[in-house]
């Protein structure tokens, strides 16, 4: 008997079939947080800035803010998504001692890698007073750091801490900004705003360290995840580039403005777009709540029952329940967003007149609202795709969105002012349709993906 045969156990399955189901979810939701904040911050400033237009300095403040938000999101995307995934893996393993070290290391990586570009941009590319440069840089690093800290709390699903910190911080920042504006102009608003951001950042950091009271261990271990999740990192980069690329293209419009300080922008387009984005805030809230409750329940049951030795009939049952939940969630959001979109388009004229926004922006705003309708739907499809850990699919969809948004917007530049905003609308629509088709096909064959294609134990 000696020697013949070998331990059957070795042939048996390893237990990582389900991998880190929970982990996928976090990286899905985390990408929408900073975007939501950006919309709220820039959108509100656009909305309320009209009452402060007497301040010529406001333009500088606004442009610095838009530049900082746009570029920090684009540059941080890869690190943010990979760090989120690493953190989620740690939480799934129930071994989070590396978390504080990782926070510091990824902070260092984020700020360190971006500092050379940002510092040289503010010193050499634009012409600002040194004190404004200092405030602008401070603002950039604060914003970037907040994106990062945010993921630690999202992974904990500690939304109330985040919300509270942001509310208090933004109120303080807004108040201080307005108060300092009279005395110090752009620097004043910027520093006031920075004060608010600093408040947010440090209260969040404190919250994170309270949650992970461990010594710094293996801070740079997460770097290894870049090789494993390079597709996720690229998806993060491409997504953030895609949502800004139409604005950057529009900065080449003949109507663009160049500030004396050297900043290029096209406030008519940017402003209208940010107002349009405000329309998706309710839908995002509804969808995230939906996803986190009804859908997530079915999602977990699908995987849990497999792990608990369900037969295939049961797996199929759970599969279709999951699809039903997804459809229900999408229907709610679609109806809500569609109504909001129509309403916004209809009342835009009246509204603009009342709050005093130049009617020039109306056309762009209307296309923007239509585009935002499909943009938000696209985001949800992206979140669903991320939930099922179809990283490569996600990456290609973001590439498509980036290319289409850039190309279509470029075409509208050629077509002239009446078409401005149409590129963003078409890019969102087409990418959404493609993403929906791809997502539907993949969700339909979820059991196959779960067992074979996405199964780390299957070689």
């Amino acid at each position: 008997m000696a020697g013949i045969g070998f331990a059957l156990r070795r042939l048996a399955y390893r237990d990582d079939l389900m991998g880190i189901v929970q982990g996928y979810a976090h990286s899905a939701v985390v990408s929408s947080g900073p975007w939501l904040f950006t919309i709220l911050a820039v959108g509100s400033i656009n909305l309320f800035a009209i009452y402060l237009t007497s301040l010529a300095e406001l333009t500088t403040f606004r442009i610095i803010l838009i530049y900082n938000f746009a570029f920090s999101l684009a540059f941080s995307g890869p690190v943010l998504l990979v760090a989120t995934r690493y953190l989620a893996d740690m939480i799934f393993r129930k071994d989070v001692v590396e978390a504080p070290g990782m926070l510091l290391a990824s902070m260092l990586l984020l700020l360190g890698s971006q500092a050379p570009v940002v510092v040289s941009f503010y010193i050499f590319a634009v012409d600002l007073a040194p004190v404004v440069v200092a405030a602008a840089l401070m603002n950039y690093f604060l914003v970037t750091a907040i994106w990062l800290v945010n993921i630690f709390l999202t992974a904990l699903k500690d939304y109330s801490s985040i919300t509270l910190a942001f509310l208090v911080g933004m109120a303080a920042g807004g108040g201080a900004g307005i108060w300092l504006a009279g005395e110090f102009g752009a620097v004043g608003i910027l520093m006031g705003f920075n004060l608010g951001l600093g408040l947010i950042l440090f209260s969040l950091v404190a919250r994170v360290f309270a949650e992970y009271p461990y010594r710094i261990t293996r801070p740079f271990a997460f770097i290894g995840h870049f090789r494993r999740y390079w597709d996720l990192a690229l998806a993060g980069l491409f997504y953030n580039l895609a949502i800004w690329v139409d604005k950057w293209v529009m900065w080449f419009a003949p109507e663009r403005e160049q500030l004396p300080s050297g900043f290029i922008s096209y406030p008519v387009y940017d402003g209208a777009m940010f107002l349009a984005y405000l329309s998706i805030v309710p839908a995002m809230a509804v969808f995230i709540v939906n996803i986190e409750t009804r859908f997530f329940e079915h999602y977990q049951r699908f995987y849990r029952d497999i792990q608990h030795h369900a037969n295939y009939a049961r797996i199929l049952e759970n599969h279709s329940a999951l699809i039903q939940a997804l459809l229900a969630a999408s229907r709610n959001v679609l109806v809500l967003q569609f109504c909001l979109c129509i309403a916004a388009i209809l009342v835009a004229g009246e509204l603009f007149a009342v709050v005093g926004i130049p009617a020039l922006q109306l056309g762009i705003f209307r296309f923007g609202v239509l585009g935002a309708l499909f943009h938000v739907l696209l985001m949800f499809v992206g979140i669903v795709i991320a939930y099922f850990d179809l990283r490569r699919v996600l990456m290609w969809i973001q590439v498509l969105y980036l290319v289409l948004n850039g190309a279509f917007t470029w075409v509208t530049l050629e077509l002239g002012f009446p078409w401005y905003g149409y590129g963003y609308f078409m890019a969102s629509l087409v990418t959404f349709l493609v993403a929906y088709a791809v997502c539907a096909r993949n969700v339909a064959r979820l059991p196959f993906l779960t067992f074979v294609r996405n199964n780390a134990s299957v070689s």
Partner: protein
């Protein structure tokens, strides 16, 4: 199929599953000795292994082994990423694969092989295991046969059993005049495929009965989900996954038996099990293992002060070393100055070894029981008075014969051929007497009692010494056994190649008879 030209044509292709030259042990030594004894024949080795890389070799292979190739059972070649009409091709596999998981025969194996060979080397894990058509095939078979059982467990069962089958059928086929497999299972499948593909004679020498070993392993497997209720129910309602595993291994064995021209085993107890799994009576034959009587009979007694017993074997649970340790503990009360050796490698199951060491410490046997590690038996046997075997399962442990040739009786559990060797095969004429003693399994007291009886009675010991030495000389002499195998090989090498239609026996011979 392809790649055959890389292998040098040989007389005999040995098909080995998880043994020689990588695992030290009885079967591996047997293979090593067989190859060395047949000096005028050339060999090729097909080694079926778990894992993805061959481990370190434990044996230096003789010159007449001209080639070795590996089949890593759980690592199917990638093959083409895509094939036209894959759904249709795989559908042709459905019926024979279902059969291979229940009552399959060589005919079903041929049907599987036919489908795979039509597409040559394009088939691989991409198409056969990881494609959507393969997924649909799995689902259809699951729904047809096992729709109530855990799908997760079925999925891995399929990948393990059917994946291994594909692997065996897609691996390169050496050019040999005779194929000789040393077990059924996957090695047996390979031999059966060799028969179907080449029409050359196929031999089987089965030491332990493969299906029996799998039965034990599967019954004990805690990684296979048994479903709610488990074994508590009064009547088992349905065929569960454990049944499927066993049925599949039996189907593999059945196919192998049907393909084999000769089915050899070591002792008659095994033949009942072979018949049960479908082996044809006319092919059955017993050839026991032999030892080098000349060499071992010349080992000289080395004078020593303490009465000495020894267990020669690997430190693994199947040898039940713990019973041996307990027996030594009991024996020490009767024979206080007894010295016990455990001669064998300890690295195969480190955890078990550690537990054994703890037990020695606990029973305060540090001065009595010594782990020697692997040793040269010739140098150590002279110091041993009685050998011990406490295995819960064995085929024909050669160490009883090696010690026996040197005039050392053995106290052994009643497993495999041990009774034959110690008390003589049925009908031994003239009776030579007991060459030791047989004890029940896992009974340290009985082992200790029999050891004490020999150690404390010089006359009893002397007659056991003579009986076992004489029996080995007459019936278990390796020179004689080697001659038998040589004869078998020469006869089979001379056989003509069978035309394809004669490679499979007529369907269902049982019904025809």
């Amino acid at each position: 199929m392809d790649r055959v030209d890389r292998f040098e044509p040989v007389d005999v292709c040995l098909v080995l599953e998880g043994t020689y030259p990588y695992v030290a042990g009885g079967v591996s030594s047997w293979v090593h000795d067989l190859v060395r004894a047949q000096k005028d024949l050339t060999f090729h080795i097909v080694s079926l292994m778990p894992g993805t890389r061959p481990p370190e070799r434990r044996y230096e292979m003789p010159q007449n082994v001209r080639g070795i190739n590996h089949v890593f059972l759980q690592h199917l070649v990638p093959g083409a990423r895509w094939m036209p009409r894959l759904d249709k091709r795989l559908a042709a596999l459905e019926a024979p694969l279902r059969a291979m998981q229940s009552t399959g025969t060589l005919h079903d194996l041929r049907d599987v092989l036919d489908v795979l060979q039509k597409s040559g080397r394009r088939f691989g894990r991409h198409t056969l295991l990881n494609s959507e058509p393969a997924w649909r095939l799995l689902l259809r078979v699951y729904e047809a046969d096992m729709s109530e059982s855990s799908f997760l467990d079925y999925f891995w069962t399929w990948r393990s059993l059917i994946g291994g089958l594909f692997n065996v059928l897609l691996s390169p086929m050496p050019d040999a005049k005779v194929f000789h497999t040393i077990s059924t299972g996957y090695a047996g499948l390979f031999a059966a495929r060799a028969k179907l593909e080449t029409g050359r004679p196929v031999l089987l020498t089965e030491h332990g009965i493969y299906t029996n070993e799998r039965r034990i392993e599967i019954a004990m497997a805690d990684w296979l989900y048994e479903g709610p209720g488990g074994s508590l129910g009064l009547s088992k309602p349905k065929r569960d996954l454990k049944d499927l595993w066993i049925d599949t291994f039996v189907a593999y064995s059945r196919s192998c038996y049907q393909a084999c021209d000769r089915i050899i085993t070591l002792y008659s107890g095994n033949q009942d099990l072979q018949r049960r799994d479908g082996a044809d009576e006319s092919k059955l034959r017993i050839v026991p293992n032999g030892v080098d009587y000349e060499r071992f009979s010349q080992i000289e007694r080395i004078p020593h002060d303490r009465p000495t017993v020894a267990l020669v074997g690997r430190v693994v649970p199947i040898k039940d070393i713990k019973t041996f340790i307990r027996a030594v503990g009991i024996l020490k009360r009767e024979v206080p100055d007894v010295l016990a050796y455990l001669m064998g490698p300890t690295d195969e199951d480190e955890d078990y070894h550690r537990e054994c060491l703890q037990m020695v410490e606990h029973l305060e046997l540090q001065e009595t029981l010594i782990f020697t590690g692997r040793v040269k038996l010739d140098e150590w046997l002279g110091k041993v008075d009685v050998m011990v075997l406490t295995s819960i399962s064995e085929a024909q442990p050669l160490v009883i014969l090696e010690g026996g040739a040197a005039g050392i009786p053995t106290v052994s559990t009643d497993v495999g051929a041990c009774r034959d060797m110690l008390h003589g095969m049925p009908g031994e004429e003239p009776p030579l007497g007991a060459g030791g003693a047989i004890t029940p399994l896992s009974n340290p007291a009985a082992t200790a009692r029999e050891l004490a009886a020999l150690l404390k009675d010089p006359q009893n010991l002397e007659s056991a010494r003579n009986a076992i030495r004489e029996r080995v000389r007459l019936y278990y002499n390796k020179v004689e056994i080697d001659r038998i195998y040589h004869e078998i090989y020469i006869e089979e090498i001379a056989e003509p190649t069978l035309p394809p239609e004669q490679r499979v026996p007529p369907r269902a011979p049982a019904e025809a008879a």
